[in-house]
C-alpha cells in the first residue's frame, strides 16, 4: 500500500467555496489523463457503491462531459461538466450542473465553478480543486435539495460516513 497521502478539505462558508487538495502516487501526466479521459473517469469518479457512466465527452474548451452516477439498483443521477478553460497538464476550469438524461441543465439548481490545478510533488502529483458557488444562498439551495431527497437515507448512511471519516 502507498504511504499516507496528503488530503485537505476546507470549507469557506463566507466565500461559498470548498477546497479539496489531494496528493496522488503517480506522475502528473497520468493523473491528468485520469481526470480528462472518460474511459478513465468512468473507473473512479463516482464514490462507491455508485458507478460512473459516460454519455458524452468532448474534452476541449466549449466541450462537455455528460455522465451519470448510477446506484447499485440502477438509479442514475445525471450531471454535466462544461469545460471553460484548459491548460494541459496544469489546470482546467469547468461549470458543473445537474441535468436530466438528455443533458439539459436543470435551471432551478445552482451551478458551481470548479478550478482544478495539477502540480508536481516530488515524484507524486498534487491536485487542488476549488468548488465555487455563486452565493451562500446557492449553497443552501443545494443542501435543501439534499434534505428533500430524504433525511432517512442520510441517516442510514451515517454509520458508513463515520467510518469513512475515521479512516
Amino acid at each position: 500500500m502507498v504511504a499516507k497521502l496528503q488530503f485537505d478539505f476546507v470549507v469557506d462558508k463566507e466565500n461559498s467555496t470548498l477546497t479539496v487538495t489531494r496528493e496522488f502516487a503517480g506522475p502528473r501526466q497520468l493523473v491528468w489523463d485520469c481526470h480528462t479521459q472518460s474511459a478513465l473517469l468512468d473507473r473512479w469518479f463516482a464514490p462507491k457503491p455508485l458507478s460512473t457512466k459516460t454519455k458524452h465527452m468532448e474534452f476541449k474548451e466549449g466541450g462537455y462531459w455528460h455522465y451519470a452516477m448510477v446506484t447499485p439498483d440502477g438509479q442514475a443521477y445525471w450531471s454535466r461538466v462544461d469545460y471553460l478553460a484548459i491548460r494541459p497538464i496544469d489546470s482546467y476550469a469547468t461549470l458543473d450542473g445537474f441535468t436530466d438524461e438528455t443533458g439539459v441543465v436543470n435551471p432551478d439548481m445552482p451551478r458551481s465553478r470548479w478550478d482544478v490545478t495539477f502540480s508536481d510533488l516530488r515524484e507524486h502529483t498534487l491536485v487542488t480543486t476549488v468548488v465555487h458557488y455563486n452565493s451562500p444562498e446557492d449553497v443552501q439551495k443545494v443542501i435543501d435539495m439534499g434534505m428533500k431527497e430524504g433525511m432517512t437515507s442520510t441517516l442510514e448512511r451515517l454509520d458508513e460516513l463515520l467510518l469513512t471519516l475515521r479512516g
Binding site: 502516487a25 441517516l155 448512511r157 463515520l162
Partner: protein, 114 residues
C-alpha cells in the same frame, strides 16, 4: 470557522456512540418519548438519560416535557443539515479519490508489468 468546528465536534461526539446513533436513527422516523426510545436498550434509565443529554447538547435532538412525559424530536435545522452536507461532501471526495488511488496503481502496474 471556529463556531463551525465546535458545532461539528459536538455532532461527531454525539454520533460516535452506537446507542446515540440508534436513537438518532429512530427519531428520523418522527418524535418519540424518552421511555419509548429507551426500550430497545438494556440500560438503566439514568445511563440512557446521559446519552440523551449528549444528543441535546449537540443540538441534534430537542425535547419538551408535558406532565411526566418527555418527548424528543430530531432537530433537522439548517445548521445541522449544512454540517452534514459538508461532511458528506468530504466523505464523497475521500471515497472518490481512494478509487483513483487504486486506478493509478493498476495503470502503473500495467506499465511496470509489461
Amino acid at each position: 470557522m471556529d463556531n463551525y468546528r465546535v458545532a461539528l465536534d459536538a455532532i461527531f461526539h454525539a454520533l460516535s456512540d452506537p446507542t446515540r446513533r440508534a436513537v438518532v436513527q429512530r427519531l428520523g422516523a418522527g418524535p418519540a418519548t424518552v421511555s419509548d426510545l429507551s426500550k430497545p436498550f438494556d440500560m438503566a434509565l439514568p445511563s440512557f438519560m446521559k446519552h440523551m443529554r449528549v444528543l441535546e447538547e449537540s443540538g441534534l435532538v430537542s425535547s419538551s416535557k408535558s406532565g411526566r412525559v418527555r418527548t424528543c424530536t430530531l432537530e433537522q435545522d439548517k445548521l445541522a443539515a449544512a454540517e452534514r452536507w459538508f461532511e458528506e461532501q468530504r466523505a464523497l471526495w475521500s471515497n472518490r479519490y481512494e478509487n483513483l488511488d487504486k486506478l493509478l496503481e493498476q495503470l502503473q502496474g500495467d506499465v511496470n508489468g509489461s
